[in-house]
């Protein structure tokens, strides 16, 4: 007895469907990049703010708690100026506020100069040190603690790596710069830079 006509049709369709299904399961490359195919692995990205509790350890600022001491290159002294005690050890201390005439005339103070002068940051007794408002002495390579007295949020951001430049590895050791490496402490305002050339405008005739 002859098989009904639609049996051949059914068998052929199932074969094609089976072939296509096997091809899909086996992961044979399909020519079209369908949506969603691009991501090789779904990542579970937590919503921002989900880890508010886990803060950078260096941003803890409880008074008295020792903070990490970031690694910094040496302070950017002018050649030969340091140690200051090579001149100042023998000089008498003059705490009167005045414009300097004998030496350091190249320094123009433009940093809250109405209210402060040299000895508000530089230690009067030992010029190789700076001092905080409390009188505590800090070395020049910890000058950020001095800057941080007024610029507290900048100091916090700097410790987290968000303010200023850092070199190194994003997943490893980083080298910071001192505030003074970018900001002249006597005249901190940045000078404008010359920009690098603009991109060429596209032309109609030639790419």
């Amino acid at each position: 007895m002859k098989a009904p006509p639609h049996a051949a049709w059914l068998a052929g369709s199932l074969a094609v469907a089976g072939v296509v299904a096997v091809a899909g399961v086996a992961g044979v490359p399909m020519p079209r990049g369908a949506s969603g195919e691009g991501v090789a692995r779904r990542s579970s990205l937590e919503p921002p703010g989900g880890h508010a509790a886990a803060r950078s350890p260096s941003s803890a600022s409880t008074p008295g708690e020792p903070e990490e001491r970031p690694e910094v290159p040496p302070p950017p002294f002018t050649d030969g100026i340091f140690p200051c005690s090579q001149c100042h050890a023998d000089m008498p201390v003059d705490r009167r506020r005045r414009p300097l005439e004998a030496m350091h005339t190249d320094i123009a103070l433009r940093h809250d100069e109405e209210h402060r002068w040299c000895l508000d940051c530089h230690d009067a007794e030992d010029r190789d040190w700076l001092h905080l408002a409390s009188g505590e002495r800090v070395p020049f390579d910890e000058s950020y603690r001095l800057c941080g007295q007024c610029h507290g949020e900048k100091l916090r951001d700097w410790r987290a790596g968000v303010h200023g430049r850092r070199k190194g590895q994003w997943n490893g050791h980083k080298q910071y710069l001192l505030c003074a490496h970018c900001h002249n402490p006597h005249e901190p305002r940045f000078k404008p830079l010359e920009p690098m050339p603009a991109p060429r405008r596209p032309s109609r005739t030639a790419p």
């Binding site: 094609v16 044979v28 990049g33 991501v39 692995r41 990205l45 880890h51 830079l193 920009p195 991109p199």
Partner: protein, 296 residues
């Protein structure tokens, strides 16, 4: 019933036999494409190494010096993100040219992966009124701020969806990459990208020998042929080795930040948690990995 009537025909005169045999042949042909050339990301590791060795040989011949092509894969537990401080950027374009040097971009025709847009402070971020061709004596200019734009490495990227050949895709660490050997240069991705971040090599790229950066990655900064699309890859050759992208290191004001989103102690997480963060063209739902923030 005669023999002709027994062969029932479809609407266009196609018999069922003919239809099923053609469909089966098409399906077989489809499967056999698996035996042909493969996209780089589908190659088994040894075949990929062969392909890369061939690339290195070809580049050494072309440039007369050794070129290393890395095949470094994504690091586990890492998803990259970038943050740019709009209150700091002065529009000096040092990032643009550092990128050109690091990533072996063509000098003529000129290809820049980063484009710095100058906008008015009074009006805020407005793309139609922005000016990428500013050239004042000094920057920053009074009353203007600067928004550098490069590939945003979108989590919901329109470009990877439109690519007809699957030559561009998102890697597990979040970088959107291009297989330069599979790209056919149709530029659908360029049309799809809302940020204008993809660039095409209309002519043979010119890269002087002394300007070549020999440390390359097969999906990143290896010298590209004519007729393919290229774009920022977060300096894939650097970041998969733990270094910062070139633009981050060169920025003179420290406006650029980079890190691992999955690391709660990274500066990127700090920025997202503590600063005012925004993304460009948010309404398009591209979910970029490139955040802009105000540091002050």
């Amino acid at each position: 019933m005669d023999a002709d009537a027994a062969a029932v025909q479809g609407p266009r005169g196609v018999t069922r036999r003919r239809f099923t045999s053609c469909a089966a042949a098409a399906a077989a042909g489809w499967i056999l494409t698996a035996c042909g050339p493969k996209r780089l990301r589908e190659m088994p590791p040894n075949r990929l190494k062969q392909a890369i060795a061939e690339l290195e040989r070809r580049y050494a011949e072309q440039f007369g010096t050794g070129v290393r092509v890395s095949d470094a894969g994504p690091l586990p537990g890492v998803e990259f993100a970038y943050a740019l401080d709009l209150s700091r950027c002065i529009g000096c374009r040092r990032c643009v040219y550092a990128c050109v040097e690091e990533n072996n971009q063509s000098r003529d025709p000129q290809v820049h992966w980063i484009r710095v847009l100058s906008m008015e402070k009074e009006k805020g971020i407005r793309f139609p009124e922005s000016d990428p061709y500013y050239e004042p004596e000094t920057v920053p200019e009074e009353g203007r701020f600067y928004v550098p734009v490069s590939c945003q490495q979108c989590r919901n990227a329109p470009c990877t969806k439109t690519c007809p050949t699957g030559a561009t895709w998102v890697e597990p660490d979040g970088i959107v990459v291009i297989d330069y050997d599979w790209c056919i240069g149709c530029r659908c991705c360029m049309a799809a990208c809302p940020y204008g971040a993809r660039h095409f090599n209309w002519r043979e790229p010119s890269l002087p020998r002394d300007a070549l950066n020999p440390e390359t990655h097969y999906l990143g900064n290896r010298p590209r042929p004519r007729g393919v699309v290229e774009k920022c890859t977060f300096c894939i050759q650097r970041v998969r080795a733990g270094r910062y992208p070139a633009c981050v290191e060169v920025c003179p004001v420290g406006a650029r930040k980079f890190g691992n989103l999955l690391d709660p102690k990274s500066e990127i997480r700090y920025i997202i948690e503590h600063k005012r963060v925004l993304v460009l063209k948010q309404d398009l739902n591209t979910l970029p990995r490139f955040f802009y923030f105000y540091g002050t």
